[in-house]
């Protein structure tokens, strides 16, 4: 688009610990390894969360799942596995329901979506170059999965990210979907 600057991140959430990705083993290099100092910025006071979406799909079947996210879920990496991969395993497409956004043009095959960490091969998590934040109250990920195999397929997709600690106090702030409680970071903390 005219006027766009490819490297401008002025309106993009940034992981203060991330650095440029190399072409290989990006999942191993995404951080400043051995960083001496703790994180600052938007993800302080958050904690890690692995949001798991398991499916067991019959031959060539399609299913969907809605994932109710904890507050301020910030997606950092995706992992996936399938028990059958002869015909590509599965296709998966993700949506940010609250923002009415597609996160892929169409379903992505397992091999191009993400892998798993264990199993003897290189680590296969795919880290986002910059995080994606589900920052609206009651955010959901809609996951649509299509089994590409002609047999039953046990599929598991994991969204790794940061969530605001549910017990993090923010005095005087409001809680969604309404009503005052202590933990919604409107008035500070969490880099808001």
């Amino acid at each position: 688009m005219a006027g766009s600057k490819a490297l401008s991140l002025a309106y993009t959430l940034r992981n203060p610990l991330a650095r440029m990705l190399p072409l290989q083993r990006e999942q191993m290099q995404v951080y400043r390894l051995g960083e001496k100092h703790p994180p600052v910025g938007s993800m302080i006071d958050h904690s890690p969360q692995w949001e798991t979406v398991p499916f067991v799909l019959g031959p060539l079947k399609t299913s969907q799942a809605r994932v109710n996210l904890q507050r301020d879920f910030t997606l950092l990496a995706i992992l996936s596995t399938a028990s059958q991969i002869a015909a590509g395993g599965f296709r998966a497409q993700f949506f940010d329901v609250k923002k009415n956004l597609r996160l892929a043009d169409r379903g992505v095959q397992k091999a191009n979506l993400a892998g798993s960490m264990g199993g003897g091969g290189l680590g296969g998590a795919v880290f986002l170059r910059e995080p994606y934040q589900f920052d609206l109250p009651d955010s959901q990920i809609l996951v649509i999965v299509q089994n590409l195999e002609s047999v039953n397929n046990a599929i598991e997709i994991v969204f790794y990210g940061q969530v605001l600690r549910f017990n993090q106090p923010f005095a005087g702030a409001d809680e969604f979907p309404g009503g005052p409680v202590s933990s919604w970071p409107v008035t500070g903390g969490a880099g808001k």
């Binding site: 083993r25 958050h46 904690s47 890690p48 979406v53 199993g119 994991v158």
Partner: protein
């Protein structure tokens, strides 16, 4: 000193440290409970998770006793064909250092001193599953003032 360094100064010295959990998970165990307690001398800044296992037919859940927090969860409202949620597959969580498959936390997590973490394993391999989890990171030692 670099001004960025000054800005990030937090008055802690970081000492490389690993907490290790070894367990032979019984065959077909369901949410076999194991506890890991952070030592009382210092908080722990968790950066990496590494895991080895006999069989990958193993699921894991992690909970923080002090807060009740589930680190591994599911809230999918329509999950096709699966039974009770027993966690994520261990190979998705982490692999071995040998395979350069340790999982790096994008943002490290502070585990307070003396806090207890529960690791719950569910095996479907039908045989005893020898597991080792390594939480690698830093002990946080307060720096003396002045």
């Amino acid at each position: 000193m670099d001004p960025t360094q000054t800005q990030l100064e937090d008055q802690f010295e970081r000492q490389y440290f690993s907490y290790v959990l070894d367990r032979v998970v019984p065959a077909n165990a369901v949410q076999d409970p194991n506890q890991l307690q952070i030592l009382s001398d210092a908080d722990f800044e968790w950066w990496w998770i590494l895991a080895s296992r006999t069989s990958n037919l193993l699921k894991v859940l992690m909970k923080e006793a002090g807060t009740g927090r589930d680190f591994i969860g599911t809230t999918a409202s329509a999950v096709a064909g699966t039974a009770t949620f027993n966690g994520m597959q261990i190979d998705l969580w982490a692999g071995t250092a040998l395979a350069t498959a340790g999982f790096p936390l994008a943002v490290p997590y502070i585990m307070p001193a003396t806090r207890v973490y529960s690791l719950l394993f569910s095996d479907t391999s039908g045989a005893p599953n020898t597991v080792e989890l390594v939480f690698s990171g830093f002990k946080l030692w307060p720096r003396p003032k002045g």
